[in-house]
C-alpha cells in the first residue's frame, strides 16, 4: 500500500435540512468521492457552489461545517483513519498536520488580536516551537509572501491591512506550524484580479519552497490550472472527472468539464456609436463628511440600446458612479443628461418618469428582494406603482415578464428562498424590466454566480437588449464579462476614467499602464500562464 499523505475513499457527508412546514430531512452533500494526495503535491478541487468542494476540503480535517456529518467512507491522513477520531485526537492534528486558509481572510482573522499572535498561535499551542522561533518563522513567511515590512507587519491588527495582505497573512498563518497539508478554500476569489495574481504567485512559491501538500479549492478553472498537479471536478457532491491538470484543461473527458473549460464563449459584436441616452459630464462627487473626491470629473456617454461596461478594482468608484446617476449621491460638480433632459442631482428633484426609466439590478439578488413576498408580488410592484396595473392585467404582464426571463408562469407564487441563485437574479431582471426602463444599471450582477449560471444571465441580458432596446451601464471587475457584453468600456482607477472608448479600441494595444496590468492579470486557461506573466512583468520593470 502506498503511503499517501491524504487518502479519501468513498466519502459521504450528510446534513439535515429543515424545510419550513415539513419534517426535517437528510440531504447528501458529498457522495462517494475518493481522492489521493501525495506529499508535496497540489490537488485542485473545482466545481460550482453546492458542489461540495469546501465540504470535502474541511473533511480532510475531519471538520463538518454547520452540522455537516461525515457519515461514510474513510479519510486517512498520514496513515491514520481520522473520520471517526475523537475530539482530542482531532485537536492535535488540526493546526499541526493540516491547516486551513479561508476564502475571506477579512472575516477569518480575529479583529481583536494582533496578526502576529494569531499567526504563531498554533505553533505555540501545539508546542511545535517556542515564541522566538515561531515569530522568526512568521517574519520569514511574511517576507516570502511579499508582505510589506515583514519585521513589523505582525504588530498590526487585521483592520489595519488590506484584503490582499490579509489573504497572504492567512497563508503565512497556515504555513507557520509546518503542516503536511494546507487546505486553501478559494483563497483569491474575494480579491481584485490585479491583487489575485500576486497572491496566487506568493501561494505557489510558498507551496514549492516549503514542500507542503495542498488542496486548492476554487470555482475558477483558470486559477486552479496555475497551481494544481491534479484536478478533481465536482458537481452536486459527486465526482465528475479526476485527472492530471493538463488532461483536464486540454482534453476534458466529460461534457460538464468541457462546458467549464469553454465557458465565456459569448461572441458579442460591438454596435456602432449612436446618440447617447445617458451623458455624464465632468461629474465630481464625494461622500458627506469626507474631504476626498471619490469621483473626479467623470465624463462618459452611453448610446441608447447599448452597453457601457465600467470596469475597475474595488474602491475605484464604479458603484459610486451608479449612485451619482441614480441620484443617491448628488454630485458636487458636473451634470447628468438622460434621454435629452437634465437630471436633477438630488433624488427628490426627479420626476416619476426619471425614476422609472433608470432601473437597477444588484450583485446580491438575495438581499435585493423581500424574502416574504412572492415572485408575483415582487415583479408586480413596479407595474402597480408606475402603470397602475391591477388584477388580471397585472397578472398577464407578470406572466409575460416571467416568459421573457425564461422562467415561465409556474414561478409566480414562489418565494425567493425557493429559487436558485441564477433564478433570483432573473427575477430581479424582470422587476427592472417591468418599469420599461431606458437604462438599467447592472452592479456586479454576475459576480456572485457560478460561471455557467453567469453565462446564462449574460445571454439573457443581451437577448433582452435586442428586444427591448434598453441600455445597460454594466459595472464589473471581471474582464471576461466585459468582453462578453459591452459595446463601450470605461476603465476606472481611483475615481478617474483612465481609458474610455469603443470595446475594440479599449481592448487593443497600445495600453496605458493600468489597463495593461488589469488585462494581463486575468487568469487564462493554459498551463504556465502565471509564470509567463510574472516573467514578462519582471522583464518590463528591469527594462524601465
Amino acid at each position: 500500500m502506498s503511503r499517501s499523505l491524504l487518502e479519501i475513499s468513498n466519502l459521504r457527508i450528510d446534513a439535515t435540512a429543515y424545510p419550513p412546514g415539513e419534517p426535517p430531512k437528510t440531504i447528501v452533500l458529498v457522495d462517494g468521492v475518493s481522492l489521493t494526495l501525495e506529499k508535496g503535491k497540489v490537488l485542485g478541487l473545482i466545481g460550482e457552489s453546492g458542489a461540495g468542494k469546501s465540504t470535502i476540503g474541511l473533511a480532510s480535517m475531519a471538520y463538518g461545517r454547520g452540522g455537516a456529518r461525515l457519515t461514510g467512507g474513510t479519510i486517512t491522513l498520514n496513515g491514520r483513519e481520522i473520520r471517526l477520531a475523537d475530539a482530542r485526537a482531532l485537536r492535535s492534528l488540526r493546526g499541526r498536520e493540516v491547516t486551513y486558509v479561508a476564502q475571506s481572510a477579512a472575516a477569518a482573522f480575529n479583529p481583536a488580536i494582533k496578526l502576529i499572535d494569531q499567526v504563531i498561535e498554533t505553533s505555540l499551542s501545539h508546542g511545535i516551537m517556542d515564541r522566538a522561533e515561531a515569530e522568526a518563522r512568521a517574519v520569514m513567511l511574511f517576507g516570502k509572501l511579499g508582505l510589506p515590512n515583514p519585521e513589523t507587519f505582525g504588530t498590526r491588527y487585521p483592520h489595519q491591512v488590506s484584503g490582499g495582505q490579509l489573504q497572504r497573512a492567512m497563508t503565512a498563518m497556515a504555513l507557520c506550524p509546518k503542516p503536511d497539508l494546507v487546505v486553501f478554500d478559494e483563497p483569491t476569489t474575494a480579491l481584485d484580479v490585479t491583487t489575485q495574481i500576486d497572491v496566487l504567485a506568493a501561494i505557489k512559491d510558498a507551496i514549492r519552497d516549503t514542500g507542503v501538500a495542498a488542496l486548492y479549492i476554487t470555482h475558477d478553472l483558470a486559477v486552479v490550472a496555475q497551481v494544481a498537479d491534479d484536478i478533481l471536478v465536482l458537481r452536486h457532491g459527486k465526482k465528475v472527472e479526476y485527472g492530471p491538470t493538463e488532461q483536464i484543461i486540454t482534453a476534458p473527458g466529460e461534457a460538464y468539464t468541457q462546458a467549464l473549460v469553454s465557458v465565456r464563449s459569448i461572441d458579442h459584436k460591438e454596435k456602432a456609436p449612436a446618440e447617447a441616452v445617458l451623458s455624464v459630464k465632468a461629474v465630481t462627487a464625494r461622500y458627506k463628511g469626507t474631504n476626498f473626491d471619490v469621483l473626479k470629473a467623470i465624463t462618459i456617454d452611453l448610446p441608447a440600446g447599448q452597453t457601457l461596461a465600467v470596469v475597475g478594482e474595488s474602491g475605484s468608484g464604479k458603484s459610486t458612479l451608479a449612485r451619482a446617476i441614480t441620484g443617491l449621491l448628488p454630485p458636487s460638480k458636473g451634470e447628468i443628461t438622460f434621454a435629452g433632459r437634465k437630471l436633477s442631482p438630488q433624488l427628490s428633484g426627479r420626476s416619476r418618469d426619471d425614476l422609472r426609466e433608470i432601473q437597477m439590478i444588484y450583485q446580491m439578488a438575495d438581499t435585493a428582494m423581500n424574502p416574504r413576498q412572492t415572485v408575483g408580488t415582487i415583479i408586480g410592484r413596479p407595474l402597480e406603482f408606475y402603470f397602475g396595473l391591477r388584477g388580471e392585467a397585472k397578472r398577464k404582464r407578470i406572466q409575460e415578464l416571467l416568459d421573457q426571463i425564461e422562467m415561465g408562469s409556474g414561478y409566480i407564487d414562489r418565494y425567493p428562498a425557493e429559487l436558485s441563485g441564477g433564478q433570483k437574479q432573473r427575477v430581479c431582471i424582470a422587476r427592472a424590466l417591468a418599469a420599461k426602463p431606458k437604462l438599467i444599471i447592472c452592479d456586479e450582477v454576475t459576480s456572485a454566480l457560478d460561471p455557467l449560471v453567469a453565462d446564462g444571465i449574460l445571454k439573457l441580458l443581451l437577448n433582452l437588449q435586442a428586444v427591448e432596446h434598453v441600455a445597460y451601464l454594466f459595472i464589473t471587475h471581471d474582464l471576461a464579462t466585459v468582453r462578453a457584453i459591452s459595446d463601450r468600456i470605461a476603465v476606472m482607477y481611483r475615481g478617474e476614467v483612465v481609458r474610455y472608448g469603443q470595446k475594440s479600441d479599449v481592448l487593443a494595444p497600445p495600453f496605458d499602464d493600468y489597463t495593461d496590468l488589469l488585462l494581463s492579470s486575468v487568469p487564462e486557461m493554459q498551463l504556465g500562464w502565471l509564470e509567463q506573466v510574472l516573467k514578462h512583468r519582471k522583464m518590463e520593470s528591469a527594462g524601465n
Binding site: R94, A108, N110, R156
Partner: protein, 324 residues
C-alpha cells in the same frame, strides 16, 4: 494603550463621552429641581405646617431665600453642590453632606463586595454556559440564576435570613455597621445582604455574557480558531470573549448602578444603614432638600457608571484603539 500625549482619536471620543455625561447630569439636576418645585407647597410650608400664618411663611421664605425666582435658587443650589454643600435637612437640621457621606460609604461598601463577587462569577458562569450551550451545565446555570432573579429580592432576603442566620446561625441576621468597626467584623456583618445582592444581579449579567459569546461564536474567525486545534475553552476565552466585551460591560455597569441605587429593599430587610434607607426615611418626612440631594447622587452614580461602560467599550474596540 493611549499612545503618549499625541491626540489620539480615542482620547477625543472618551472626552466627548465624559462631556456628554456631565451635560446630562446638569440636565438631570434641573429635572430634579423642577420636579420638587412642582410639588404643592414649599420648604417653608413644610417646616411651619398647614396652620402657619401667611406672614410667618413670608418671613421664613425671605430668610431661606425662597422668595427668589426659581432660576436664581437653582443656580444657588447647584453652586452649593459644586462646593460640597448639599444643604440642611429639614427634619433634623443636620448637614446633608455629612449624613450622606457616611451612608454613601456604607452603600458603596456593600455594592463593592457584591460586585467583586458577582461580576467575575457571572462572566465565568456565562462562559461555561456558552461552552456547554444547550447541554446540562448550561441548563442548570440558566435555571438556577433565572429562579433567583425571578424571586422578589425580599423573598430571597428572607429565605437567606431564615436558613443562614436563623436555622443554621452562620451569620448575623442584622447587618449593623458603625464607624470604627474593623474590616473583618464589617465583612461578617454584610455577608448576608451581599449574598442576596449577588443572587439578584447574577442572572442578568450571566445571560448577557452567554448571549454575547454565542453571538460571537457564529463568526468565521471562531471556525479558524477551531481549525487551529484549540480547545473549546481556549476558543471561547481567547477568541470569543475579547469580542464580546462591549455588550457585557454595558450590562455589568447597569447592574453595578442597581447595586448602588436600587438596594432599598435589601437594606430594609437587613436594617443596613445605607443610602436607600436614608432616602426612604426622608421621603416619608417630606424632607425635600434630602430627597433632592440623594436623587442627584443616584443620578450621578448612574450616569458615571454608564460613561464608564461607554469608555470601556470604546477602549475594547481595536478599530478605535488602533486606527488605520
Amino acid at each position: 494603550m493611549l499612545a503618549g500625549l499625541r491626540v489620539h482619536p480615542v482620547f477625543k471620543l472618551v472626552v466627548q463621552r465624559i462631556a456628554l455625561g456631565l451635560l446630562l447630569l446638569v440636565a438631570v439636576s434641573a429635572i430634579i429641581f423642577l420636579g420638587v418645585e412642582a410639588l404643592p407647597g414649599d420648604t417653608a410650608q413644610a417646616i411651619l405646617g398647614q396652620s402657619a400664618t401667611p406672614q410667618a411663611l413670608a418671613n421664613l421664605r425671605a430668610e431661606m431665600g425662597l422668595d427668589q425666582p426659581p432660576l436664581a435658587r437653582y443656580v444657588d443650589w447647584l453652586g452649593g453642590i459644586m462646593t460640597g454643600d448639599l444643604g440642611t435637612s429639614l427634619s433634623n437640621k443636620t448637614d446633608i453632606a455629612k449624613a450622606i457621606g457616611q451612608r454613601l460609604g456604607n452603600t458603596l461598601f456593600l455594592a463593592f463586595w457584591a460586585a467583586i463577587i458577582s461580576v467575575p462569577l457571572a462572566v465565568l458562569l456565562g462562559l461555561v454556559a456558552a461552552r456547554y450551550n444547550g447541554r446540562w451545565p448550561d441548563k442548570i446555570i440558566s435555571g438556577v440564576t433565572l429562579s433567583t432573579i425571578s424571586l422578589p429580592e425580599f423573598v430571597v432576603g428572607y429565605l437567606v435570613l431564615y436558613f443562614l442566620a436563623v436555622k443554621w446561625q452562620l451569620f448575623p441576621s442584622v447587618a449593623m455597621v458603625f464607624p470604627g468597626m474593623g474590616m473583618m467584623e464589617r465583612l461578617n456583618a454584610v455577608i448576608l445582604p451581599v449574598i442576596v445582592l449577588v443572587l439578584v444581579v447574577l442572572a442578568h449579567m450571566m445571560r448577557m455574557t452567554r448571549a454575547a459569546i454565542l453571538n460571537v461564536m457564529q463568526s468565521a474567525y471562531i471556525e479558524t480558531a477551531e481549525l487551529k486545534g484549540l480547545s473549546p475553552m481556549q476558543v471561547i476565552w481567547r477568541h470569543a470573549f475579547p469580542n464580546a466585551i462591549a455588550p457585557v460591560v454595558n450590562v455589568v455597569m447597569l447592574n453595578l448602578a442597581y447595586l448602588v441605587v436600587g438596594v432599598v429593599v435589601v437594606e430594609v430587610v437587613f436594617v443596613y444603614p445605607g443610602m436607600g434607607q436614608y432616602l426612604v426615611d426622608h421621603v416619608t418626612k417630606r424632607d425635600l432638600p434630602v430627597v433632592q440631594a440623594v436623587g442627584l447622587i443616584f443620578a450621578a452614580v448612574y450616569i458615571g457608571l454608564n460613561i464608564m461602560a461607554d469608555v470601556i467599550s470604546i477602549l475594547a474596540n481595536p478599530r478605535l484603539r488602533h486606527p488605520k
